[in-house]
C-alpha cells in the first residue's frame, strides 16, 4: 500500500491498467474468450464509446460552468438529424459541422432559458428533449419523406466516408502504396502466451481501423482538460460553477461565460449525435441516440466531472456493448473479470481494516463467479442497464470521493444573493 501511494498519478494509472490487463489476460486464458482483448474489440469499443465520451464532455462543460444539462440527449438528437441531413446534402464532414452549429444553438437556447430567464435547469433540459424529438420528427417528414432511400423516420444515405487510419509498422498501415508489416497483429495472434497478446491487442486496437472523427473526439479529452485547468478562460468557467458570486466580485463576466460554455456543451453533444448518424452509420434514424445522452450524463458523474474521468467511464460503459456487438459468447467472461476485480478490492479494503465492506465485496465476487458458471449468455438488457446501475452504486457508495461543482443547478442572477 505504501509503495502504491508513493507513486505519481501517472505511474498509478499505468500500474492499475497493467493490473487490469493482467486480469483480462488470465480470464482469457482460462475461458478461451480470445475476443475480450482482441484489437477488433478494442477498436469497436472506441467506436461505441465515442458518442458517450462526447456527451460526457458536454456534461462536464455545462456543469463546470454551473448549469445542469439534462438536455444532452436532446442536443444529441439534434446532432443526429443535422448530421444526417448535412451528410446527405454535402458529405460527411459537412454533416458533422452542421450538427455542431445546430447543437451549439440548442445549447445557447438552454443558456438563454437558465441564465437570462432563470428557469429551473432540469425543466429547461426536459423541454429541450421534448423540442428536439418533436423538431427532428417534424423535419424528417418535411425533408426526408419521399426522397430516394429516405423516409418518415430515416434520412437518405450520407455521402462520403472518413477514411480509416492504420499506423504504419504497428498495425500494417500503408506508406504510399507499400503495406508495412503488421507487427502488433502478429503478436496478438499468439494466443497461448499470457499478457503479451493482450497488450498487443489493446495497442493495435488503438492504432488500427480508427476513424478520424474518433481521433478528434479523443483529442478533445486532453484539450478540454487543458482549457479548463490551465487557461484563464477555464479558470473563469470553473469559478462560475463553484461560486459565481465570488467570480462576479472579481469582475468575471459570469453570464457571458455561461453562454459560451453552453454553446461548447451543445456542440459537443451534437458532435456525438452526428458521430452516430454519419460515422458509426451513414443515415439518420429516429431514436438513434437510444438514451446515450443520459449515459453521457452518467459518465460525467462517474468521471467526477473531469475529462479523463469521463473518458474512463465511456470506455468502461462502451466495452460490454462492444463485446456484445462482436460475439455474445464473450460477455459472460466479463463476469469473471468483475469477480477478480471485486476480490482485489476486498483485499484492499481488508488491508484498510474495513471488514464489512470486504465481506460485501467478496459476496459480490462469489455471486458474479457463480453466475458465470450457471449461465451461458448474459441478457442484452443487463448489458444495457450496466451504466445506470454502476452510476447509482457510485453515487450511493462513493459520494465522499465525488466532487461536483458546488454551484451547478442553483439559480443565480448577477447582482443578487450577495
Amino acid at each position: 500500500m505504501k509503495f502504491f501511494k508513493s507513486l505519481s498519478t501517472g505511474q498509478r494509472t499505468i500500474a492499475l491498467s497493467l493490473g487490469f490487463m493482467m486480469v483480462l489476460s488470465i480470464v482469457r486464458l482460462f475461458t478461451n474468450a480470445d475476443d475480450i482483448t482482441s484489437s477488433g474489440t478494442i477498436s469497436s469499443t472506441l467506436r461505441v464509446a465515442t458518442p458517450i465520451l462526447l456527451a460526457g464532455l458536454a456534461g462536464v462543460w455545462a456543469e463546470r460552468v454551473g448549469i445542469v444539462n439534462i438536455g444532452i440527449e436532446g442536443m444529441m438528437i439534434i446532432g443526429t438529424w443535422f448530421g444526417g441531413y448535412g451528410a446527405w446534402k454535402w458529405g460527411s464532414w459537412a454533416g458533422i459541422a452542421l450538427a455542431i452549429v445546430a447543437g451549439s444553438l440548442v445549447g445557447l437556447l438552454h443558456a438563454l432559458a437558465t441564465v437570462r430567464f432563470n428557469v429551473n435547469h432540469v425543466v429547461s433540459g426536459i423541454a429541450i428533449n421534448i423540442l428536439a424529438a418533436g423538431t427532428t420528427e417534424y423535419l424528417s417528414i418535411i425533408f426526408f419523406k419521399g426522397q430516394q432511400g429516405g423516409g418518415e423516420s430515416q434520412s437518405p444515405a450520407g455521402k462520403g466516408g472518413y477514411g480509416e487510419f492504420d499506423m504504419p509498422f504497428l498495425s500494417g498501415g500503408r506508406i504510399g502504396s507499400w503495406r508495412s508489416p503488421d507487427m502488433l497483429g502478429w503478436i496478438e495472434k499468439k494466443h497461448d502466451l499470457p499478457l503479451l497478446p493482450d497488450i498487443a491487442g489493446l495497442l493495435r486496437g488503438l492504432v488500427s481501423d480508427i476513424y478520424i472523427p474518433t481521433i478528434v473526439a479523443i483529442a478533445l479529452v486532453p484539450i478540454t482538460a487543458y482549457i479548463l485547468w490551465r487557461t484563464r478562460f477555464g479558470l473563469r468557467v470553473r469559478s462560475s460553477g463553484e461560486s459565481p458570486q465570488a467570480g462576479e466580485s472579481l469582475g468575471v463576466p459570469i453570464n457571458r461565460l455561461r453562454y459560451q460554455a453552453m454553446a461548447i456543451s451543445g456542440g459537443l453533444a451534437a458532435f456525438g449525435g452526428a458521430y452516430l448518424s454519419c460515422v458509426f452509420t451513414s443515415t439518420y434514424r429516429q431514436g438513434q441516440t437510444g438514451g446515450q445522452g443520459y449515459i453521457g450524463l452518467a459518465t460525467t458523474i462517474f468521471g467526477n466531472w473531469t475529462p479523463f474521468g469521463v473518458f474512463r467511464g465511456a470506455i468502461l460503459f462502451g466495452f460490454p456493448s462492444a463485446l456484445k456487438f462482436r460475439d455474445e459468447k464473450n460477455v459472460p467472461a466479463l463476469l469473471l473479470v468483475i469477480a477478480v476485480i471485486l476480490i482485489a478490492a476486498a483485499i484492499v479494503s481488508l488491508l484498510k481494516n474495513k471488514q464489512l465492506l470486504a465481506t460485501g465485496l467478496l459476496i459480490g465476487a462469489a455471486v458474479s463467479a457463480a453466475t458465470y458458471f450457471l449461465v451461458d449468455e448474459v441478457p442484452q438488457e443487463f448489458v444495457a442497464a450496466t451504466p445506470y446501475i454502476v452510476t447509482i452504486l457510485v453515487l450511493a457508495g462513493a459520494r465522499q470521493q465525488l466532487r461536483p461543482p458546488a454551484h451547478a443547478g442553483i439559480a443565480y442572477r448577477a447582482g443578487e444573493n450577495h
Binding site: S124, A127, G134, L297, P379, E381, F382, L395, A396, R399
Partner: protein, 361 residues
C-alpha cells in the same frame, strides 16, 4: 384576503394561457417557414372539437396524463423532482398484468386488486429513489433518470424471459397472458369513454384534499418551501421526502392502468409509452394545482387526439410535440417573469407606504 387570492389565481391562469398562445404563435412561424399554412392547420386542429368521437378520445388520452401529472406535482410540492414516473409506471404495468392474470376474483374486487398491485409496485420502485435521497444524499433527478432506464431493461428482460405468451391469432405482437374479463375496467359512455377517467378525476380531488385541506398537506408544503423552518416545528424533512416519494410512486403506478385494464388487457412492449413522462409537461402547465392539471391534461389529450387530423391535410402531426416543448419552456419563463414583476410591484407598494409614514412623521 380572498380578493388577493383571486387576483393571484387570475394572474396564474393568464400566464398559462399566454404560454399556450406564445407556443401557438411560434409553431405558426415554424409552419410558415416549412411551407405549410398555419391558419388552415389550426382550423383543422381546433375544428375537430365539434366531433364527439375526438372529444371522447381526448378524455381517454387525458386520463393517464391527469394521474401522471398528479404524481409529478406531489413531488413538486415537496420540492422533489420525480422524473421517474415513466419507470415506476413500467414496473407496475408488468407486475399488474402478471398478478392480475394469475388470480380469479369477482369483478369489482379483481379491478381493485389490480389497482392496489399497481400502486404498491410503483411505490416500491419510487422508494429506491427516496431511500437513495434520504440515506445516501443522492439527488432524485439523477437517481430517477437512472432508475428509469434500469426499469426499462428489467421489465424488457422479465417480459421476454418469463411472461411472454406467443399469440394464438398469428399476430406478431407478443403479449402477456390476457387478463380475465373480471379485471377489465369497464367503458362508461357509449363504450368509448373508459371508466378510468373518473378514477383520474377522483385522484385529482383526493390530491387537492390531501395537499390543501389536511395537516399532512400543510406540513408537506411547508417542508417543501422551507425545510429548515418546518424542521424547527417538528416536521422531519426526511420522513416527508420518503412519504411524498412513495405517494408519487403509487400514483405513477396508476398511470398505465387505463391502457392495461381499460384497453389492451395484457402487457406488451410500448404499452402506455411516454404517458408517465408527459405528466411533467402537464404538471408544469397546470402549475401543480388539480384544477390546472385537469385543464392542461384535457388540452394535451385533445392535441394528441386531434393531431391525427393534420395528416389529412399533409401537415406532420409532430408539430404538436414541438408545441408541447415550447409550452413547457414558455410557461416557466413567463412564470419567472411574472414572479419578478410581482415582487417589484410589492416592493414598490411597500416603498410608497413607507414614504407616506415618513412624510406624516
Amino acid at each position: 384576503m380572498k380578493n388577493q387570492r383571486l387576483q393571484r389565481m387570475a394572474v396564474t391562469s393568464a400566464s398559462s394561457l399566454l404560454a399556450v398562445f406564445v407556443a401557438l404563435c411560434i409553431c405558426a412561424v415554424i409552419l410558415l417557414i416549412t411551407g405549410k399554412d398555419p391558419i388552415e392547420a389550426y382550423r383543422t386542429l381546433f375544428g375537430a372539437a365539434g366531433d364527439t368521437k375526438v372529444l371522447q378520445g381526448a378524455l381517454n388520452r387525458a386520463t393517464p396524463l391527469m394521474i401522471s401529472a398528479s404524481a409529478v406535482a406531489i413531488g413538486f410540492k415537496m420540492n422533489l423532482f420525480n422524473i421517474g414516473v415513466e419507470g415506476q409506471m413500467r414496473i407496475s404495468l408488468l407486475a399488474t398484468a402478471v398478478a392480475g392474470a394469475a388470480i380469479h376474483l369477482p369483478a369489482p374486487l379483481h379491478v381493485l386488486f389490480c389497482l392496489i398491485v399497481a400502486m404498491a409496485t410503483g411505490a416500491l420502485w419510487a422508494a429506491f429513489a427516496g431511500w437513495l435521497k434520504v440515506k445516501r444524499g443522492v439527488n432524485e433527478v439523477i437517481s430517477t433518470i437512472m432508475l428509469n432506464f434500469v426499469a426499462l431493461s428489467l421489465v424488457a428482460w422479465a417480459f421476454d424471459s418469463f411472461f411472454r405468451v406467443e399469440s394464438t391469432t398469428g399476430s406478431l405482437l407478443v403479449k402477456t397472458k390476457e387478463l380475465p374479463t373480471s379485471a377489465w375496467f369497464p367503458d362508461i359512455v357509449d363504450r368509448r369513454l373508459n371508466g378510468m377517467f373518473f378514477v383520474a378525476v377522483l385522484v385529482l380531488i383526493l390530491f387537492y384534499v390531501l395537499v390543501w385541506k389536511t395537516k399532512f398537506g400543510f406540513q408537506l408544503r411547508a417542508s417543501g418551501a422551507n425545510p429548515g423552518a418546518s424542521r424547527v416545528t417538528g416536521v422531519n424533512p426526511k420522513r416527508m421526502i420518503m412519504i411524498s416519494m412513495l405517494l408519487s410512486g403509487a400514483l405513477a403506478g396508476l398511470v398505465g392502468m387505463r391502457s392495461l385494464l381499460g384497453d389492451v388487457h395484457a402487457y406488451q412492449n410500448n404499452l402506455a409509452e411516454q404517458q408517465g413522462f408527459n405528466g411533467i409537461a402537464v404538471a408544469l402547465l397546470g402549475r401543480n394545482h388539480p384544477l390546472g392539471i385537469f385543464i392542461s391534461a384535457l388540452l394535451f389529450g385533445y392535441l394528441g387526439e386531434a393531431s391525427g387530423r393534420l395528416q389529412l391535410i399533409d401537415i406532420p402531426k409532430e408539430i404538436t410535440t414541438i408545441m408541447t416543448g415550447i409550452i413547457v419552456l414558455a410557461v416557466v419563463i413567463i412564470n419567472e417573469a411574472v414572479k419578478r414583476w410581482d415582487d417589484r410591484r410589492i416592493q414598490h407598494k411597500a416603498a410608497l407606504a413607507l414614504e407616506a409614514v415618513a412624510v406624516a412623521a
